[in-house]
């Protein structure tokens, strides 16, 4: 399996480009609808262990938000989230010429799950009195100008490794505020948040799922995504090996089962002779 996943990084493969799914397109459109300079709340709810899958997703979204000149207000419900967010924001900010405090701000770790989210929704500056990077009063930054409550932002983006954080956002914020909510999650959490993103009136307006979602978003935004493409190939190779292993295992089991049922039982003739006697 390890060899199969490593192969695309050593041997160059190519696959035809995938078209964007409806949910990825909805995510893209929700971001594009936000007027320039509007504040966007980005909750980065994943930790270092999920870096391999979540970093490309987060980087693509943050890059687009900053490129569109939106004010990115980052926060996290996970203790490691702010540090990971800061690194990505600084790298993408430097690339696009955006300044910390003016174009993007890190409001840090918000502990307490449901009560914290409600508190954050009603009074952002009380729930996050200081920024993460310089421990200065969050209200002193231009990026937070005119934002008192979560209702003052134009869009909420939740980037999470599992379904717990998006579910909390839907339950605690989606039911209280009319702000559109979009979610980017790992592939593992995809099926668990799907019910919120389907139906006539979806509670989540768009979703990006895993590396495939990151790749689709990159193609929609016109980003070059060669590294992402190789990772996606590696993931697909691993999937193919897993499918082959499952199919082969079942075929072997079925073959053995049929062989045991169809072959004549040893000693059956002797048993019959004894019974007759």
């Amino acid at each position: 399996m390890l060899i199969a996943v490593t192969l695309p990084f050593v041997v160059p493969f190519s696959l035809p480009p995938a078209s964007a799914s409806a949910s990825s397109r909805a995510f893209y459109e929700a971001v594009e609808r936000v007027p320039a300079s509007s504040p966007v709340l980005v909750s980065i709810d994943w930790e270092a262990g999920q870096l391999g899958e979540m970093e490309p997703l987060t980087r693509g979204v943050v890059r687009r938000l900053l490129a569109r000149d939106l004010r990115v207000l980052a926060m996290s419900l996970a203790p490691q989230g702010p540090a990971l967010a800061q690194r990505l924001l600084d790298e993408e900010g430097a690339r696009l010429g955006r300044r910390y405090g003016d174009h993007y701000l890190n409001l840090g770790f918000i502990p307490g799950n449901e009560p914290a989210l409600v508190s954050f929704a009603t009074a952002i500056r009380t729930a996050a009195p200081q920024d993460y990077r310089f421990s200065q009063s969050s209200g002193s930054y231009a990026a937070l100008a005119g934002v008192e409550r979560a209702a003052d932002v134009a869009l909420i983006v939740v980037i999470a490794a599992d379904d717990a954080a998006p579910t909390r956002w839907v339950q605690q914020i989606g039911t209280r505020l009319p702000v559109p909510l979009v979610v980017a999650v790992s592939a593992g959490a995809g099926p668990l948040i799907a019910p919120y993103a389907r139906g006539d009136r979806p509670q989540i307006k768009g979703t990006l799922i895993g590396l495939a979602g990151a790749n689709e978003y990159a193609s929609l935004t016109g980003d070059s995504a060669t590294t992402l493409w190789t990772r996606l190939l590696a993931q697909s190779t691993g999937q193919a090996i897993l499918v082959a292993a499952i199919v082969l295992g079942n075929v072997v089991w079925l073959g053995g089962h049929l062989w045991r049922r169809l072959r004549p039982r040893e000693g059956a003739a002797d048993e019959n002779r004894w019974e007759t006697a």
């Binding site: 899958e53 203790p79 490691q80 770790f109 502990p111 590294t227 990772r231 691993g238 999937q239």
Partner: protein, 250 residues
Amino acid sequence: MMLPGIPFESLGILLAGLLTLAVLSFVAGDNPVYRLVEHVFVGVTAGYAAVVAYHHVLVPKVVQPAMTASAENVLPLVPLLLGGLLVGHLSRRTSWLASIPLAVVIGVGAALALAGALAGTLVPQVIATAVPLGEDALGMPGGGANLVFALGRWTLVVGVVATLMSFSTGLGAAGSGTGAAGSGTGGSVGSGIGHGAALAIRQVGRGVLLTALGAVFASIAVSRFALLAGRVAFLTDEWLRTLGTMLAFG
């Protein structure tokens, strides 16, 4: 900051690569190197969480507001007081004091979670499942008609109902069913039909559950492959490049 000729960032990348290889060594079986790295990760995570809790939670949200408290405004002291009561757990005689902040935290948290689950999940999902199944089933929200869309609606409703019924302990049990109350031959026949139907519905429900669990398992497998691909990408690109640069320095 630099060591002689080598930036700290490069040392960090080198160390990260070695730690990754140590974790991957578990493929060959449990070994002391893997165990050591496992303990390092747990320790670093706990230590980092403690630092974040102190610098980014306790100081700005508890200590600094408490400093601003006055005789007219004692509200900022409340979190400090509730937090202090948790120390009561250290002694059996004062442990009842810790129940007060715990009651506040659990009470508020449970109330918000319950209200959120009802308003944000249960009610919207029930509404989303209440879809037309007659001739209207073909009609799509954006206009137009589609047979596949109608089949999807039927699958949704049948799947939800069957899954809910599969959790019902009374259904399908011996003696239950539509004809169970009757007596004599007619009652037995009715009971048998009801029992068989209930069992069939439960089987469908279990099938739906297993399919859903299969989808979740497959998605988690995909997620893990993505994590592995991320590490392999790091090792084959950034780590090897840094290692090459450092060897060139050496």
